[in-house]
């Protein structure tokens, strides 16, 4: 009887494993053609790409999106010198206080400050964006399936025409990578939106790639240390396992 149930189970599982295709399915995210430099067990971030991505964030994204979990001092990881980081921080205005008179005051940023948000609170952000809340980007590369590939696909996936039967209400934008195919964010990137400091040609695809890598770093700044430590740990353990196996064999050979 159980064997019979098992058979029914197997057949049903087999039938169920055929995927259901629906027009509403989001497109799976894809990595750029050259792949990600940080992928794989030995991957590292591309510092030049990170700096370009930071420039894209600063000049385009930071107008609406906050990066609250990062501090300006974290930017030394990108290859900036301390002086450059001080200068970047000083460009921001921090609302601080109270001073000894009890008043709040504005001052230029310091490396120890966290990134300044474009809006003082969520309600102000919604009011400025037709009711939609631009999410904080500090963890975006870990908070979505597909990570930085999702960010890259989303940003370079604007501008397509929706298929017949899908109507996009006014105020929304069509993007097949976003669940539901409509996103409130208008296409943020265009060719030459940024003039790259290192002279790289700023196509939408390049900007999307660089900012996605920057956000991957922002979500996981310790990735490279993690992989380096992992290499040392795993190599040690493999050698140690070999030694322990030898010990085990020697001990067990003593059996009468």
């Amino acid at each position: 009887m159980l064997r019979h149930s098992f058979l029914i189970l197997a057949v049903t599982v087999g039938l169920a494993s055929m995927p259901a295709m629906a027009a509403e399915d989001t497109l799976p995210p894809h990595a750029p053609a050259a792949g990600w430099p940080q992928a794989g067990a030995f991957g590292t971030y591309d510092r030049a790409s990170l700096q370009r991505g930071f420039q894209v964030y600063k000049q385009v994204c930071s107008l609406c999106h906050s990066l609250k979990l990062l501090a300006y001092r974290d930017l030394t990881d990108l290859g900036f010198s301390e002086a450059e980081v001080k200068a970047i921080a000083a460009e921001a205005t921090i609302h601080d206080g109270p001073n000894d008179n009890g008043d709040m005051f504005d001052r230029p940023g310091r490396p120890s400050d966290f990134f300044v948000s474009p809006f003082p609170n969520d309600q102000a952000a919604r009011a400025a964006n037709a009711g939609a809340l631009p999410p904080d980007l500090s963890l975006m590369a870990k908070a979505r399936h597909g990570g930085e590939s999702y960010i890259y696909s989303l940003l370079s996936g604007f501008g397509q025409t929706p298929p017949a039967g899908e109507t996009i209400p006014s105020g929304m934008n069509y993007n097949p990578y976003f669940p539901g195919h409509q996103i409130a964010m208008p296409p943020p990137l265009r060719d030459d939106a940024v003039a790259y400091a290192d002279g790289t040609k700023a196509t939408v695809e390049q900007e999307a790639k660089d900012v996605a890598q920057f956000l991957a770093w922002a979500a996981e700044p310790k990735m490279e240390v993690r992989k380096q430590t992992g290499l040392k740990v795993v190599l040690f353990l493999i050698v140690f396992a070999g030694i322990m196996y030898g010990v085990k064999r020697k001990v067990w050979s003593k059996l009468p």
């Binding site: 159980l2 149930s5 098992f6 029914i8 189970l9 049903t12 599982v13 039938l15 169920a16 067990a41 979990l69 974290d74 999410p135 500090s138 963890l139 870990k142 908070a143 979505r144 399936h145 990570g147 669940p179 979500a219 700044p221 310790k222 240390v225 993690r226 992989k227 430590t229 992992g230 290499l231 740990v233 795993v234 353990l237 493999i238 140690f240 396992a241 322990m244 196996y245 010990v247 085990k248 001990v251 067990w252 059996l255 009468p256």
Partner: protein, 393 residues
């Protein structure tokens, strides 16, 4: 302990301590000289691996607790501070987060070993019951631990599971309000989950002590299920099983290290990197993988049971699911009395062996179903697998 059982230690310091508190003699009796069957396979390693994981989780947990803030305003950001600014914080956090998964892997293999080889049968019934109690405590600890980072999945998983208690007739809603400390999952809930999450591992530690003590009364089972007849069938635990367990532990650690250092978020849900928002429900609320089979059983009960010919609901589908879900663990608890065969090990029970593997497949199918949305045909498959799970008993 009778003084005649004391070991004669050469080191004068150890001898001095041992005369006053025979800890060293105890350790020698229970972990060095202890006669252990010599035919263990590597499945017998997993109890020791589980003990190692308990110690690892307590150690990493204590260090995390030094930086974590159990308040809804600060919990998420305090965890991110550990990941970014605390020296080696990312490593301690990933070890703790993935350690829960490794702990459950070790314990599930350990349990399946017990079911296959009849380790729950006389005289080890109490040992088995203590083990199931450890499993229940582990499940409670893991559930509360997952709530602590206060991500979307933390909050909504807590909401779903605490709401289950409202299925209890008459007093359900009051119990849920009492558990929450309010009218929804909020700051009091987070605070008490933190307190209990810190406490329960030490309760687990105590029950593990009883579990090992009970084992040392009956002695270990072995793959044949046949009791050792003489000293020729056993070896002292040290050095034979200390060496073998160390090797097994190292292999286990290689796998653990690969996960922690190269795929630390593979077993988790990206939604938990979004701060908890009571106003936004995730598209799919899914528990961690080790709870998926129970989640599938919970969702497979879709009928209300009425008093015949009336609209009065005797057992709602919610209550039915809850009963089945706890029943799945309760079934483990009474296993020594469900299976009365005098033959212990599946090595000599060909029909039981086949049914066992059917049971394993049912558990894996339930795990897969638990991760899927509660739509057809997943619901139907889940119901069949639930039936098979209980039919196994």
């Amino acid at each position: 302990m009778a003084s005649s059982e004391r070991v004669n230690f050469k080191n004068p310091v150890i001898k001095w301590v041992d005369e006053r508190l025979p800890l060293f003699s105890l350790m020698h009796k229970e972990y060095a000289a202890f006669p252990t069957p010599k035919n263990f396979n590597y499945l017998w390693n997993f109890g020791a691996l589980a003990m190692f994981m308990l110690v690892a989780m307590i150690a990493t947990g204590v260090f995390l607790a030094m930086y974590y803030t159990p308040s809804t305003d600060h919990a998420f950001n305090s965890v991110e501070r550990i990941m970014r600014d605390v020296n080696w914080g990312w490593m301690i956090r990933y070890i703790h987060m993935n350690g829960a998964s490794m702990f459950f892997i070790a314990v599930y293999v350990h349990i399946f070993r017990g079911i296959y080889y009849g380790s729950y049968k006389k005289p080890r019934e109490l040992l088995w019951i203590l083990g199931v109690i450890i499993l229940l405590l582990m499940m409670a600890t893991a559930f509360m631990g997952y709530v602590l980072p206060w991500g979307q999945m933390s909050f909504w998983g807590a909401t779903v599971i605490t709401n289950l208690f409202s299925a209890i007739p008459l007093v359900g809603d009051k119990i849920v309000t009492w558990l929450w400390g309010g009218f929804s999952v909020d700051n009091p809930t987070l605070n008490r989950f933190y307190a209990l999450h810190y406490l329960l591992p030490f309760v687990i530690f105590a029950v593990v002590f009883l579990h090992v003590a009970a084992l040392h009364i009956s002695g270990s089972n072995n793959p044949t299920g046949i009791d050792p007849k003489s000293a020729k069938d056993t070896v002292p635990f040290h050095p034979y099983y200390t060496a073998k367990d160390c090797f097994g532990l190292t292999v286990f650690l290689i796998f653990y290290a690969l996960v922690v250092f190269y795929a630390p978020n593979a077993l988790g849900d990206p939604d938990n990197y979004i701060p908890a928002n009571p106003m936004v429900t995730p598209a799919h609320i899914v528990p961690e993988w080790y709870f998926l089979p129970f989640y599938a059983i919970l969702r497979s009960f879709v009928w209300d049971i009425h008093i015949p010919f009336t609209h009065v609901v005797l057992i709602s589908s919610k209550l039915g699911g809850v009963i089945l879900m706890f029943g799945a663990v309760a079934m483990l608890l009474i296993l020594p009395w469900l299976d009365k065969s005098p033959v212990r090990s599946a090595m000599f029970r060909p029909l039981y062996k086949k049914l066992f593997w059917v049971f394993v497949v049912a558990c894996l199918v339930l795990g897969y179903i638990g991760g899927k949305p509660p739509e057809q045909p997943y619901v139907f498959i889940g119901q069949i697998a639930t039936f098979v799970y209980f039919a196994f008993s």
